[in-house]
């Protein structure tokens, strides 16, 4: 039974992680930075699922399940922080939010 080799999925996950990492490092909008963090979490999910199929072990499906639940919690709290910062500062530009820098 010929299937797409696992290494293809791993390289796709690496590319997705690097796109997310690039977004976190270069974008100025805090909301877009959050979206890029979601991309990086999905790259981790894809790696887990690729190895789950490789090994025939369904435990690899449990980790993405928990990652999706934690991502939902993270998005709720993170967006609440963004709203709170916007209310106090009037901006979500991470270059202008630097009172904890020094």
């Amino acid at each position: 039974m010929p299937v797409v080799p696992t290494v293809n999925y791993l390289i796709l996950a690496a590319a997705l992680f690097c796109v997310g990492m690039l977004g976190v490092l270069i974008r100025r909008n805090a909301l877009v930075v959050f979206m890029c963090i979601e991309l990086m979490l999905n790259a981790a999910n894809l790696t887990f699922l690729a190895f789950a199929r490789e090994r025939g072990d369904v435990t690899g499906h449990i980790s993405p399940f928990f990652i999706i639940a934690v991502a939902a919690a993270e998005a709720a709290v993170g967006l609440a922080i963004v709203i709170s910062v916007f209310r106090n500062r009037g901006t979500v530009n991470i270059e202008e939010i630097q009172s904890m820098k020094h």
């Binding site: 797409v4 293809n8 690496a14 992680f17 909301l31 877009v32 999910n45 789950a52 999706i68 709203i83």
Partner: protein, 171 residues
């Protein structure tokens, strides 16, 4: 070239293309819609990996619930984004170079993995028929992983309360 390979490349190019769109589109709403497209393509990839349950969860929770939350916040703040999406600065150039270096290192490392053209356990038809079904996933989740499952429900409760407390003007 079989159908699975064609679908893999279709979904892979779609996933990476819309992920790049998230970064390089100025309008945050367009970014969010691009991210939704990326999640849908990724759900297709999950189906190719025989993870149908996770693919459905991906569409329901990620593309559905989480992205609606993002769009809600973007529209609530009604951001007017002017100027370039990123200023060129030494730290940003260093970040881009580090990302490119990480990608090259990861791809080189993965290419060194011993190649496996077939997934050997899949010749067992009985195991293949039950792999990744919601029945099998539930059996593992509610026996072996019951405590983490309950801990995650507690985490979600804390996140709900935390989000309300942080976003409220006066507690």
């Amino acid at each position: 070239m079989n159908a699975e390979l064609v679908l893999f490349w279709l979904f892979a190019v779609g996933t990476i293309g819309s992920a790049v769109g998230v970064i390089f589109v100025r309008n945050p709403v367009a970014s969010a819609m691009s991210l939704v497209a990326s999640f849908f393509f990724l759900a297709g990839i999950y189906v190719l990996l025989w993870a149908h349950t996770i693919a459905v969860l991906q569409v329901l929770v990620y593309a559905g619930a989480i992205m609606v939350l993002f769009l809600f916040v973007i529209m609530l703040l009604s951001l007017t984004d002017t100027g370039p999406i990123a200023h060129v600065s030494p730290s940003r150039i260093a970040g881009a170079l580090a990302t490119a270096g990480l990608l090259v290192a990861l791809v080189m490392a993965f290419r060194k993995l011993p190649s496996s053209d077939t997934v050997s356990w899949a010749s067992d038809a009985g195991q293949l028929a039950t792999f990744g079904t919601i029945k099998q996933l539930g059996a593992v989740l509610y026996t072996q992983w019951l405590f983490p499952f309950e801990a995650v429900s507690l985490l979600l409760l804390v996140a709900i309360v935390g989000a309300v407390v942080v976003a409220k003007a006066r507690v």
